[in-house]
Symmetry: C2
């Protein structure tokens, strides 16, 4: 008998029909002999509707009250789901984040989990009941105040509970069939991966793949929780995110066969590029610039420094960052222009980032040459480059990004070669 | 500096505009130098919408889950209200029933308050903040499960908190201006009472007046909490519900001047009448009938036993009960027809009950004669009568009930004699 933690997102429980469909799937898992703990998000657009309500009241809602407001969403979905499961003759009990023992710090709106003490969940499971837990929420350690975990919070709740309960697997259900070699909306020939290791999944998530958020994968890697990413709209097996290093002494050829060079191609069009023009090419200037940017709260991603023009002793420094951080970073740099001593600033939010990810590239030379050749053949100019051991990222024009993804996907033999079913369901969220 | 507990119903916070209007009133009370604790219901039709959602899932939702679902409503209104107050520059913190220390038994759906330990509320007040508390909800003593208090639960939360905090007054805001001598929708000349004592208010509530529920008045009387019933849509003073026995040794004439004979006329058209026909007129039969009815869970109100027909030794017994209990009572009686030995059953849900209430009638003979004369003059037949020390109730045909209320209201000089403002606001809920 396995202990399974299942997480269902808002699109899976968007309405009563969705809630009943999910309940049926849960009841089947339970009747198959498993212990089942379920983490559920708010129904469909509930969270957005609650945010709209708050905005009708005030442009700057206090974050403590905002958390109380938003957690109403999971309260609704979790109780309805428990009712639907009970209606199928399977005992179910719902629990808030507090009741489930999800303890967080007190940073309202984006709290971090600091402990999980799921004694009530374990007791419900021991009683033979399905435990339904509100995702996305916790309670502060000392003041007993309600917190929310921020974006991807429900996935993180599920992985954290799976770790605390020592579950066999954490199944993350959404409206896509798994992790794909590229976004199927851009690359129709993208293939679903049967499995991907934590490091690759981390790079995918960090590079724009939306299927899992970074913190959830980080948590899973730290506690070695296997994640099964799958669709709540189909019975297809999805993608297993887990460690699968080859056993020691295994044949190297078999290893290579097992582990493809490239896991996938991620893309991200949500970044912007700031260029600091005419920077004195003296030691400490770059450090000064990035201290100022970091101080504004902006997250810097890629950095390029041009070769200095010998005649002037000036250079240009470019970096990328989330476009949503653009205003604060530009403002901070402007205010420090005198101190830093640059000539001007340029802001460009028409860039796109393509990332090629694969643990296999560590041991395979020539990956970057093949990448650049593919982009060149497709007539796509590379503006910036950054690499890690298992990732190469390039910045292009945003209007060339889709073409770039398709070209690279093909160049690395990722295209589906047969009539593999690529199934999407639901609301497209 | 007074400590005021204010309760706002769903119609007062039906939308963002309502929430802001209520917030302004709360901020004014706070700025006038008072400590303010607010109890709030779910917005407008939220509770009904949540019930509809549950009914889409299952016809018989488990009551524990239903309570979790319904308490989402107050979670939304309380956080929005705290935001709106903060937006006016007054500190506000919202608290769930659990955080406010509202401890209940474990009867989900209609839990009773067994203790109130409002240490967090007191701390917020001591900090100078307005405390906003979710009405209608509590938490079980041992299992830490969420409960709801049933109909009128928010009013009861407010009075219980006022008692526990030793507040100076509990202000109950709704969309009516106070307690009236009769329902102004039926009697346009009804007058708002400046005050009414607990006993009278109890009889009014038990006799169909909707402005306060019985349990809330019972709680207030037990702990001697003065209730101020008023409108959130106007600044008019409302009705004080409180003890105002004359001081010992006070002049009796003054006493009579102060205390009118009659407080008001209540009506109730939600009852039905069951007649058990052809009952053997032997000792124990009536007891048997009412044991059976009570065993079905039905609440019996008035009872009349006809004079026995000497020739047959048979009699008829009639009683009234809430029409919603009609089916279970009729079923239970039918199933026991053989044991009890009656001939047949009659069911009539076209009855109306009129109640005349006034502490002053204790010392004034002739009240019932005047009541019967007024009804007779209006051509209204009386089918049943019951009395208490401060109340006389009669049953009429339901289609004559409104005429009966108007006739009695006039006969006891309750009609407004001048252009008194009778103001209603809002949604008519």
């Amino acid at each position: 008998m396995a202990l399974i933690v299942q997480k269902y997102g808002g699109s899976s429980v968007a309405d009563a029909t969705g809630v009943k469909r999910v309940a049926k799937r849960i009841a089947e898992s339970k009747r198959a002999g498993n212990d089942v703990v379920v983490v559920v998000s708010a129904m469909g657009d509930t969270t957005d509707e609650l945010i709209d309500l708050a905005n009708e009241i005030t442009p700057l809602p206090p974050s403590r009250e905002m958390d109380i407001l938003l957690t109403a969403g999971e309260r609704i979905s979790m109780s309805l789901l428990a009712m639907a499961i009970a209606n199928l003759g399977v005992e179910a009990r719902s629990f808030t984040g507090q009741q489930a023992g999800v303890i967080t710090d007190d940073v309202h709106g984006k709290a971090r989990i600091i402990d999980v003490t799921p004694s009530r969940i374990q007791a419900a499971v021991d009683d033979g009941a399905v435990a339904i837990v509100a995702g996305f929420q916790g309670v502060t350690q000392h003041t007993n105040d309600v917190t929310t975990l921020g974006r991807g919070g429900s996935d993180t709740t599920a992985v954290a509970l799976a770790a605390a309960l020592n579950a066999d697997v954490c199944e993350i259900y959404s409206d896509v069939d798994g992790v794909f070699t590229a976004d199927p909306r851009i690359v129709p020939t993208a293939r679903k991966l049967d499995r991907i290791n934590y490091d690759e999944m981390l790079e995918m998530a960090a590079s724009g793949a939306k299927v899992l958020v970074l913190r959830c994968v980080e948590y899973a890697r730290r506690y070695n929780v296997p994640i099964h990413v799958r669709s709540s709209f189909s019975a297809h097996p999805g993608t297993m995110v887990m460690n699968y290093e080859p056993a020691e002494g295994a044949d190297e050829g078999a290893d290579v066969m097992e582990q493809p060079i490239i896991a996938g191609v991620a893309h991200d069009s949500s970044e912007a590029k700031i260029t600091v023009v005419g920077v004195p090419d003296v030691p400490g200037t770059a450090a000064h610039i990035f201290e100022v940017v970091a101080g504004s709260g902006a997250n810097i991603d890629m950095i390029v420094q041009n070769v200095s023009a010998a005649a002037t002793g000036l250079t240009d420094i470019s970096f990328t960052l989330p476009a949503t951080d653009g205003t604060v970073a530009m403002t901070a740099l402007s205010e420090n222009q005198g101190d830093i001593g640059f000539e001007s600033l340029q802001y460009d939010d028409t860039i796109g980032k393509l990332s090629l990810i694969g643990a296999g590239m560590k041991s395979h030379p020539g990956v970057s040459a093949r990448l650049f050749a593919a982009l060149s053949a497709a007539g796509i100019n590379i503006e910036m480059i950054s690499t890690s051991e298992i990732r190469i990222s390039v910045v292009t024009r945003s209007d060339q990004l889709a073409d770039a993804v398709r070209a690279v996907h093909t160049a690395f033999d990722l295209d589906s070669t047969e009539d593999e079913a690529v199934v999407y369901g639901g609301t497209g969220r």
